[in-house]
Symmetry: C2
Subunit: 504 residues, 2 copies
């Protein structure tokens, strides 16, 4: 399979990963490919981690600033965090070691809307980009690059970086060729133009990534699979959440605010999202569309069954089984899947134009619909906002979903006041738990509180919430969004102090 590197000049720069990693220096800003455990570099990060460890053993400082598309895998985020090689991380992570180091105050983490990353890089807000490390599937004779299972910010990394390291991963199938659409029509203001996309399947860009061959300082060959995202069948709680949401969607169709074709679906990842998609399939919908970030196993199934006619995303994130299915039928999937840069998959212009139905998870919401997606007890980061803000603000319907409790019932998802706000009251339309669904559209804060408490709160917290709200309605400084400031965060404080929000 040597013919994956067909450009003569770049072929000359083939070298082992540790030699390539030597290009990266202490203090560098390094941009790597990778989105939701797909298409991240598999070898150079580990070689870099080894170099960092050696430097630290010598007493030399060695830390880098690391930018990616979104989350990666233990071989990248985990490896660099374990050797204390990260000074700064953006825009998203979900790695246990990285998370621990952020929450210990050892890594500076920037939690950023995924649609903002590329443009803020172009604007110069993150400074110069020293090195890009990008996984690709092949190098064409003319130097163009066949992308992999994710695109993410790769176009921006390749253009903005001073030096480029390419990992050519032969595990990535060449039959991906034709599935990508890399938009090159972006510009800096004041020279921006409308993005000419009006349907989820529109192709507006290039099949390949472009790179200046003179910037490519190293090419590394790999043969390693993406992180296999585990796929667990929906549990009872998720199925109940999905049931409430499907009933609501049917109601919207009956009221003619939606047609039976619905509108393009955006779906977060995880158990609840799986249950919702399974429920949609079971409800008999056909010919739907997805405009989302990530395609998981369940979307493959929906495409095969005709429930979905087309899906647009920036990454695949499949289990081992899903990968086998995808590889076996890749000629089918190439006709109904397109992968795009994340500044396109998450672009407010396109999300609003297409009118997505945005379905995202949350850690908690307060009784007024202010949603916390990121911080446990207001201070400890979980993963990050990801694309949820891009979608929630611009969607036709913005839906937030979670079980009504966590930690064996010791934490209520519905709280008096959110301990951190990622999605404001202005952006939240629908809240769903296994208890029920609150439709906040057209409701004032006090009306929302009554609905969220009655429909979404777990029964074991409902009377505590009613009590808070009733007393706040009587004693609050202002009665628009009634709050008791000495008590608003007491549930979280109790959780931090005792491990439970319940009163002992």
């Amino acid at each position: 399979m040597d013919d994956r590197i067909q450009h003569a000049g770049m072929r000359q720069r083939l070298m082992p990963a540790d030699q390539a990693a030597a290009v990266i220096r202490h203090g560098d800003t390094v941009c790597m490919s990778g989105f939701t455990g797909a298409g991240y570099p598999k070898c150079v990060p580990q070689a870099l981690a080894a170099r960092i460890q050696q430097a630290h053993a010598r007493g030399d400082p060695f830390r880098v600033r690391l930018l990616t598309g979104a989350s990666t895998a233990p071989e990248l985020d985990g490896a660099l965090a374990k050797v204390e090689g990260m000074e700064l991380r953006l825009p998203y992570q979900s790695d246990p070691t990285v998370r621990d180091r952020i929450n210990a105050g050892q890594i500076d983490y920037l939690d950023i809307h995924l649609s903002h990353v590329a443009q803020h890089t172009w604007f110069g807000f993150f400074g110069d980009i020293d090195v890009a490390v990008v996984e690709i599937a092949a190098i064409l004779p003319d130097g163009r690059l066949l992308p992999t299972s994710s695109i993410g910010n790769n176009r921006t990394w390749l253009e903005r970086a001073g030096k480029v390291i390419l990992e050519v991963n032969r595990w990535q199938p060449l039959a991906l060729d034709g599935m990508h659409d890399v938009y090159y029509g972006t510009a800096l203001p004041p020279d921006r133009k409308p993005i000419p996309l009006v349907r989820v399947e529109d192709r507006i860009g290039e099949r390949y990534l472009l790179v200046d061959p003179d910037k490519v300082v190293a090419v590394v060959e790999t043969d390693a699979h993406d992180r296999n995202s585990p796929f667990s069948p929906p549990d009872d709680c998720s199925q109940r959440i999905a049931g409430h949401l499907l009933e609501f969607i049917e109601h919207e169709v009956a009221r003619r605010r939606l047609t039976p074709r619905l509108l393009p679906l955006q779906s977060g990842v995880g158990n609840i999202a799986n249950a919702v998609l399974a429920g949609i399939a079971a409800s008999g919908y056909q010919n739907l569309e997805a405009w989302t970030e990530v395609i998981q196993d369940n979307m493959l199934r929906l495409l095969r069954d005709g429930v979905l006619r087309f899906a647009s995303a920036t990454a695949l994130s499949l289990s081992g089984t899903g990968t086998a299915e995808f590889f076996e039928h890749i000629d089918f999937y190439r006709r109904c899947i397109v992968l795009r840069p994340q500044e396109i998959s998450n672009h407010p212009e396109l999300i609003r134009r297409l009118g997505c139905i945005a379905m995202n998870g949350m850690l908690e919401t307060d009784i007024y619909g202010n949603v916390n997606s990121t911080h446990v007890a207001g201070s400890r980061i979980m993963n990050g906002i990801g694309g949820s803000g891009d979608f929630a603000r611009n969607a036709f319907l913005s839906i937030f979903m979670a079980p009504s409790t966590a930690k064996q019932g010791g934490v209520s998802t519905i709280v008096p006041m959110a301990s951190h706000v990622d999605h404001t009251e202005h952006d939240t339309m629908i809240v769903v738990t296994e208890q029920g669904l609150a439709d906040l559209r057209g409701l004032s804060p006090r009306q929302r509180a009554r609905d969220i408490i009655a429909k979404c709160a777990h029964p074991s917290y409902r009377s505590m919430l009613e009590d808070y709200f009733d007393r706040a309605c009587r004693n609050s400084f202002g009665k628009h969004t009634p709050h008791l400031l000495r008590e608003a965060l007491s549930w979280h404080a109790r959780f931090v102090e005792t491990g439970s929000m319940r009163i002992a």
Copy 2:
């Protein structure tokens, strides 16, 4: 001036305001024109208030749900609130009586992104629209309508309402003709197309508003001026804020992240915005552009002086002096001002494409950059979010400005934790007070806190903030966004209890 109503059919429906107001019934959803005290109906709301008062005197219920473009004036919001005639109000208000009734829990208020209002109306999220009451400048022979000093949501109100009442205000100059651009290319998903606007001066719509003449149940003649927005010269504090901001902008030009032509300016209203615009003029910039909601006196001056070459907005909001200047030179201003519907002036697609420099006021920000624009002490609404979210999320630069203290120093604008969040940490780039400017781009929460405290906090609160932050960094549950939950809102609680955030 009878020739302002040139359509024969509508002319037959000319009637006094009290007769027109009789069309409106208890429980109706009523949509009225008006944006920042410009172009609101001057007579029918007061006639409606009188009818409501009579009904209440008889013991009959009479309340309406009131939608507008944005804020109006005492003759509309004030009159209806005084007679307790409002059940619900959206999307924005700044009226003292309305505010008091909202904060007393007597009016349900929906505080909504101004770009969302028209589309949520079209989506059916606010239910049926019973009556529209829209001020216009004239009715053409073919039934088209000449808009006034604001457009706001008028296109949507005229199309969606079952019945239409027109107020033809002869105070509005006929020479406005040609200043408006009413975009009729919007559609519901999945039929939306790119909005074909790439420069602030582009005209993409119609000169006139369209209405189905059969829906026009009443035409009322008026001759009354808009609310005169007071224009006060910048005070010392505002000038210092402007000074810091101008120094920052010069720095960005020097770093080549901006050219000397800058990018289209969005400016909120009020003293600080006035000082910033005056400072821009004094700094020698020329040929700038504005893409904003409201044009105030100061922008007229900048247009006259060539500092601005063009300004796009949805409303004029002028003082008496500003109005006189505008009327006298209206032929000049018609060449350099265009008024648009607010779903266009505030559209995320366009704000992001144009790359606005968004400058908005705030009530407070916490040390991590979470901004509260709306709620005093987390519960009492001031005005509303208005368009600040549309601009901040999508701008090239998102800037929030305020004096570092309020209430004679008893309130700090910089607080440990925001008591309400309208703009999340993900959307705030620059914070400015008279003390200095914090540039949060590329900074993690802890880095932001150090900068905001050092550069923006008032000296009399700085050590209190440092003390909170230092202790939070030691004792917080998570160290990503350090907080002490039992103390985070104590400053606000103290303010509510004692009238001051200071420790006695």
